[in-house]
């Protein structure tokens, strides 16, 4: 059964069309990798699902909450419902700088889920343990590495128990040696049965953890299939070119 259903989604920034009629149906437990060239609407697609961007046209429904676009004044309650169904992990982590790791994870539980403080703390500690950062609970973001900050951000998202986790290039802002620890965390989250949409340029990782891969170009989904289908036998010239280029990048261009 579909947990997320997107129909005919359109979004432009001024005259620049970024999403040009996206249809997507996601089943519970799906791990969906979203790949494609820069500026083809991957991030915008994710950010439209939790209404950080407001598409002009289309419908979004998650777990029974349906929103018809464009957004109208009376939709505020629906938007906050959609946001409760989803959790987002950002490229640049965006932890709350003046709060400790633990307070970051507790924040949504206390203010949005309205849990009593003790309960929120217990839940937050569990999630920090889940990402292997229990000992870092009292540290402030500025004292943590990018990889650790991103893992706290993942814990913060998991703590809210979202139906769908949206990951927007979660390793793109990290130093190369920190990428692995974050990918390992994402992998272990994926194994816990969460539904995930992952925008990433880590092709090998996407191939390994997803059960379905989307290739976006020009604001449309032009490839949709298993990792094997999309990566090994793409139907479109555009996708083939892109994957070849990505593979080429892995061959060292310069020898020292």
């Amino acid at each position: 059964m579909a947990i997320l259903e997107i129909k005919d989604l359109h979004k432009s920034f001024n005259s620049n069309v970024v999403l040009d009629g996206v249809d997507l149906s996601v089943n519970k437990g799906d791990i969906i990798g979203i790949v494609g060239p820069s500026g083809t609407g991957k991030s915008t697609l994710l950010r439209s699902i939790n209404l950080l961007e407001k598409p002009e046209k289309g419908t979004i429904s998650i777990n029974g909450t349906q929103l018809n676009l464009p957004v109208k004044g009376k939709d505020r309650k629906k938007i906050s419902e959609l946001r409760l169904h989803t959790g987002m992990v950002f490229q640049r982590f965006y932890l709350f700088e003046h709060k400790t790791a633990l307070e970051n994870v507790m924040e949504g539980l206390v203010t949005v889920r309205k849990l009593p403080k003790e309960e929120a703390k217990a839940a937050a500690l569990k999630e920090l343990e889940n990402v292997g950062l229990l000992e870092w609970q009292n540290h402030y973001p500025k004292h943590m590495s990018g990889g650790q900050q991103q893992r706290v951000a993942i814990a913060r998202t998991l703590a809210m128990k979202p139906d769908i986790i949206l990951l927007d290039e979660p390793t793109s802002a990290l130093d190369p040696e920190l990428v692995t620890e974050v990918l390992n965390t994402i992998k272990s989250v994926a194994e816990q049965g969460y539904t995930m949409l992952l925008v990433s340029h880590e092709m090998d990782f996407v191939r390994k953890i997803s059960n379905r891969v989307l290739f976006l170009d020009g604001g449309k989904i032009i490839e949709d299939g298993t990792p094997k289908e999309v990566f090994d036998h793409p139907g479109s010239e555009r996708a083939r070119e892109f994957f070849e280029k990505m593979r080429g990048l892995k061959e060292p261009e310069f020898y020292i």
Binding site: N50, F96, H98, T100, G108, N138, Y140, H143, A153
Partner: protein, 244 residues
Amino acid sequence: MNTKFSDYFSFKLVWDRFPELIKKIPITLELAGLAFLVSVVVGLLIAVARYKKVKVLAKIATGFLSVMRGTPMLIQLYVAYYGIPAILKIFNSWGANIDVNIIPKIVYAFIALGLYQAAFTSETFRAALESVDNGEIEAGTAMGMTYGQILKRIIIPEALENALPGIGNSLIGLIKGTSLASTCGIIEITYQNQILAGRDYRYLEGYVALAIIYWIITVIFERIFKFIEKKIKIPDQPKAVEGA
């Protein structure tokens, strides 16, 4: 003729001025405190209007800032001193019934001082608000926090750390600025000194005593603000846990 140093300057006279001047410190502080309150409230409103780019309000705020920054404090005090009663009299001529004489002089002074300082404080606030990473606001939004919650729990606490040094400076500026209010006939420490000097013509000793008093007051407030800044800053250490 035999002149002594004490004919030109007497340390004893400086010392003797203090008790009489200190009596008026409460007036100086009251004036500075009220003006500070006005400056923080008005400054915050202007800053938010400009930060959130509220169309008409932001335009008005920008015009207000330009006028307040482009004219001398002293002139503004006089305009308030003569202008506010004039406005009230116009209201009265339209049928309102306000007794202009009932309004204490200090009201004109703290409104004028407060509005003047608000022009500067608002820029401190705006810079502090803009220093909060937009991404943190998005993170809060994405997790379902309302804008009010984000403002209260994320933006303001983080902005405060950046705003505090500027707020401290603004209070210190106001404390010194109160000396101008003597021109509106408010007997605070500067005016008090003029009264005393008028009796014995020892102006220099009086002004030296006055300078020392202003200096001590501002140093005290500087210390207080430094202390608060330290309290509010993100610590360089992990947070200490009770019982650990």
